[in-house]
C-alpha cells in the first residue's frame, strides 16, 4: 500500500529531524545500561552461570523497544489531537493504510531503539554468544515483539484524550512489564505466586528466548512456546490497535 509508505516516510522524516527525540532515545539507552546494568553488576556479579549485564540486557532491550513504541504512539496521538489525521481521512486512501503507516513507523522506532540498546550493551561488556544465526533470530523476535508494543501504544493513542493521559496509561503498562517479568531476576528465584504473574507477561518469553539465542543462556522456557506467545502478543495488540483506531475515526 503506497499510502502506508508515504505516511511512514513522513514519520521517519519527522523523527530524524527531531534532535531531542533522537538524543533522548540514545541517552536513555546508555543510561539504562550504564547506571543500572553496570551498577548492578558490581552487586550481583553473576546469574545463572553468566555475568549480570548479559543477563539483564535482553530485558532492558525489550523495555526500551516499548520506549520507542511510546514515541511512535505519540505521533498518532498528536496527529489525532491536532486534526492532522483528517488530512489522511479525506484523502482517497484506505483507512487501514493510515493505521499501518503509523504501525510501521512506530515499530521502526521501537526496533531502532532496541538495536541501539543492544549495541550499547555489547560495547559495555555484555557477552554475545558466538552464534550469528542466533543473533538474527533474536532480532527477528524483537521485531515481532516491537510490533506488539507498537500496537499497544497505538491502541492507547487511539483512545487517549491528551498527551498526559497517554503517558499515564503507558506508565501503567511500563512498570509491571518490567518488574513482573524475568528481566532483572531469574524465574527460579521467584515465589510461586509471582512466578504465575511473570508467566502471564509476554515480555518474559521474549527475554528468555533472546537470552538463549543471542547470549548463550540455557532456555528456561521452551523456545517454540516463546515464539508462539510473542507472535500471539503481536497479533492481539495489532488487532486491539486496529479496532480502537476504527472506533476513533468513526464520524
Amino acid at each position: 500500500m503506497y499510502a502506508t509508505y508515504v505516511i511512514w516516510t513522513k514519520h521517519m522524516a519527522k523523527f530524524l529531524r527531531s534532535t531531542e527525540e533522537l538524543l533522548g532515545l540514545f541517552l536513555q539507552s546508555v543510561l539504562w545500561v550504564l547506571l543500572f546494568g553496570v551498577g548492578m553488576r558490581g552487586l550481583v556479579g553473576e546469574v545463572a552461570g553468566g555475568d549480570y549485564l548479559s543477563f539483564i540486557l535482553p530485558g532492558i532491550v525489550a523495555l526500551s523497544s516499548l520506549g520507542g513504541a511510546v514515541g511512535g504512539g505519540i505521533v498518532l496521538l498528536d496527529e489525532r489531537l491536532r486534526g492532522i489525521l483528517k488530512e489522511y481521512l479525506v484523502a482517497p486512501i484506505p483507512r487501514l493504510s493510515i493505521l499501518l503507516g503509523n504501525a510501521t513507523s512506530t515499530a521502526t522506532k521501537a526496533l531502532f531503539q532496541a538495536g541501539l540498546m543492544l549495541v550499547v550493551g555489547v560495547l559495555m561488556g555484555a557477552r554475545l554468544s558466538p552464534n550469528p544465526p542466533g543473533w538474527l533470530a533474536a532480532l527477528l523476535l524483537l521485531a515481532i515483539f516491537s510490533v506488539g508494543f507498537s500496537g499497544l501504544a497505538l491502541a492507547v493513542a487511539a483512545v487517549s484524550r491528551s498527551i498526559a493521559g497517554y503517558h499515564g496509561m503507558i506508565f501503567l503498562f511500563n512498570l509491571p512489564l518490567l518488574f513482573a517479568s524475568n528481566a532483572l531476576y531469574p524465574l527460579a528465584v521467584l515465589p510461586d505466586w509471582m512466578r504465575v504473574i511473570v508467566l502471564l507477561n509476554p515480555t518474559t518469553y521474549l527475554i528468555d528466548a533472546v537470552r538463549a539465542l543471542a547470549f548463550g543462556a540455557a532456555p528456561t522456557l521452551p523456545l517454540t512456546l516463546s515464539l508462539a506467545v510473542i507472535v500471539l502478543f503481536a497479533v492481539l495488540c495489532t488487532w486491539l490497535a486496529l479496532s480502537l483506531f476504527r472506533r476513533s475515526i468513526r464520524g
Binding site: Y2, A3, V6, K10, A13, K14, R17, S18, R82, G83, I84, K86, E87, Y88, L89, V90, A91, P92, I93, G251
Partner: protein, 315 residues
C-alpha cells in the same frame, strides 16, 4: 441532470441525543461560491464533515461532484480539496514537504507535484518561506499553505471551513482575493462556512443561512438583503417595545418589523429611510416607548440573519 457540484437532501446527523444537522437541503451549482453563514454550533462544520466524507449522515443523502458521499466516498475524495477550521499542519516539515506529501497521498507524479508546488507557491505568495519549517510560519502564512495544500490536487470542489478565522484584516483580504481568482479562472466550486457577515457578502454568489442544523434562508446576498426592504430604521429605546412594533407594522410603507428578544432594538424596514424616519419615530413616542437612538441604514446580511433566526449573529 442539473449541474450541481453539491446536492444534498434531508441531511440529518445525530450524535447521541444531540442533533447537529436537522434536515438540511443544499444545492450548489458548479462554478459558484457558496457561503454557509451561521453562528458557531449551527451545524456548519458537521455539514462540511458529511460532504467531505469525514462523517456519515444519520439520514438523507448527498452527492458531491456527482458521487454519493456514502456509497462512493473514495471517488468523492479524489475530487475534493478541504481546509479545516483549525490549522492542521505538521510543524516539523517545511512548506514544500507538506505540499509534496499531500500530492503523494493522492499519487500525483513527481514532475506534476513540482510544477503544482511552484504554481501554488506563487499564487499564495509563499515563495521564500517554502523551504522553511512550518513552525516558524505566521498564522496567515499557515492558512495560505493550507489553502495551497487543498489545491494541490486541482479539486473540482474546494471546501473551506472558516477560512479566515483568526486572521488579521490584511491576510483576510488576501485569502479572499485568492479564492475569487480560483473561482473566476478555474471555474472551481467553493463551499465555505463562515460566521463573518462581511466574508459572505464579499465572496459568495449564494448564501445559505444555517441555524440549529437547518437552512433557514438561501439566495444571492443582495436578493436576501433587498427582500427585507430598501432601508432599515433601527430604533433603540425603552418601554412598550412590543406595542411599538405592532404600531410600526401597521404603517402602510413598512415592509416588516423585527424586534429580537435579546436586544433593545426594533428594526423597521421601509421603502425609504430618510423619508419615513419622522413618521416611524412619531409612532414610537405616542405609544409609551421612549426613543433613545435612531439610525437609518441599508439592511445587511446581519439583519437578514436576525430576521430569519430571531437572533443577532455575533462575530
Amino acid at each position: 441532470m442539473t449541474d450541481y457540484a453539491i446536492d444534498a437532501r434531508g441531511l440529518v446527523k445525530r450524535y447521541g441525543a444531540i442533533t447537529a444537522v436537522d434536515g438540511l437541503d443544499l444545492a450548489v451549482p458548479a462554478g459558484t461560491i457558496y457561503a454557509l453563514l451561521g453562528p458557531n454550533g449551527a451545524g456548519k462544520t458537521t455539514t462540511i464533515n458529511i460532504l467531505t466524507t469525514l462523517a456519515t449522515p444519520t439520514e438523507g443523502e448527498a452527492r458531491v461532484a456527482g458521487h454519493d458521499v456514502r456509497r462512493e466516498a473514495a471517488r468523492v475524495r479524489t475530487r475534493i480539496g478541504v481546509t479545516f477550521q483549525e490549522m492542521v499542519l505538521d510543524q516539523d516539515l517545511t512548506g514544500r514537504e507538506v505540499l509534496d506529501i499531500h500530492g503523494r497521498l493522492y499519487r500525483l507524479g513527481g514532475a506534476l507535484r513540482r510544477r503544482r508546488i511552484a504554481e501554488l507557491a506563487e499564487l499564495v505568495q509563499l515563495g521564500d518561506a517554502l523551504d522553511r519549517r512550518v513552525r516558524g510560519y505566521s498564522g496567515g502564512m499557515r492558512r495560505r499553505l493550507e489553502l495551497a495544500r487543498g489545491l494541490m490536487t486541482d479539486p473540482e470542489v474546494l471546501f473551506l471551513d472558516e477560512p479566515t478565522q483568526g486572521l488579521d484584516p490584511q491576510n483576510r483580504v488576501g485569502i479572499w482575493s485568492y479564492l475569487r481568482a480560483l473561482n473566476r479562472e478555474r471555474g472551481m466550486t467553493l463551499l465555505l462556512t463562515t460566521h463573518y457577515m462581511d466574508e459572505a457578502e464579499e465572496l459568495a454568489s449564494q448564501v445559505g443561512i444555517v441555524d440549529r442544523g437547518r437552512l433557514v434562508a438561501e439566495g444571492a446576498p443582495e436578493a436576501l438583503v433587498s427582500a427585507l426592504g430598501a432601508d432599515v430604521i433601527r430604533v433603540r429605546g425603552s418601554g412598550e417595545r412590543g406595542h411599538f412594533a405592532a404600531c410600526a407594522r401597521a404603517l402602510p410603507f413598512v415592509t416588516r418589523v423585527d424586534s429580537p428578544a435579546d436586544s433593545e432594538l426594533v428594526m423597521v424596514y421601509v421603502d425609504s429611510g430618510s423619508r419615513r424616519l419622522a413618521e416611524v419615530v412619531g409612532a414610537a413616542s405616542g405609544n409609551g416607548f421612549a426613543v433613545e437612538d435612531v439610525t437609518v441604514a441599508r439592511p445587511s446580511l446581519g439583519d437578514v440573519f436576525l430576521h430569519h433566526t430571531g437572533r443577532a449573529l455575533r462575530d
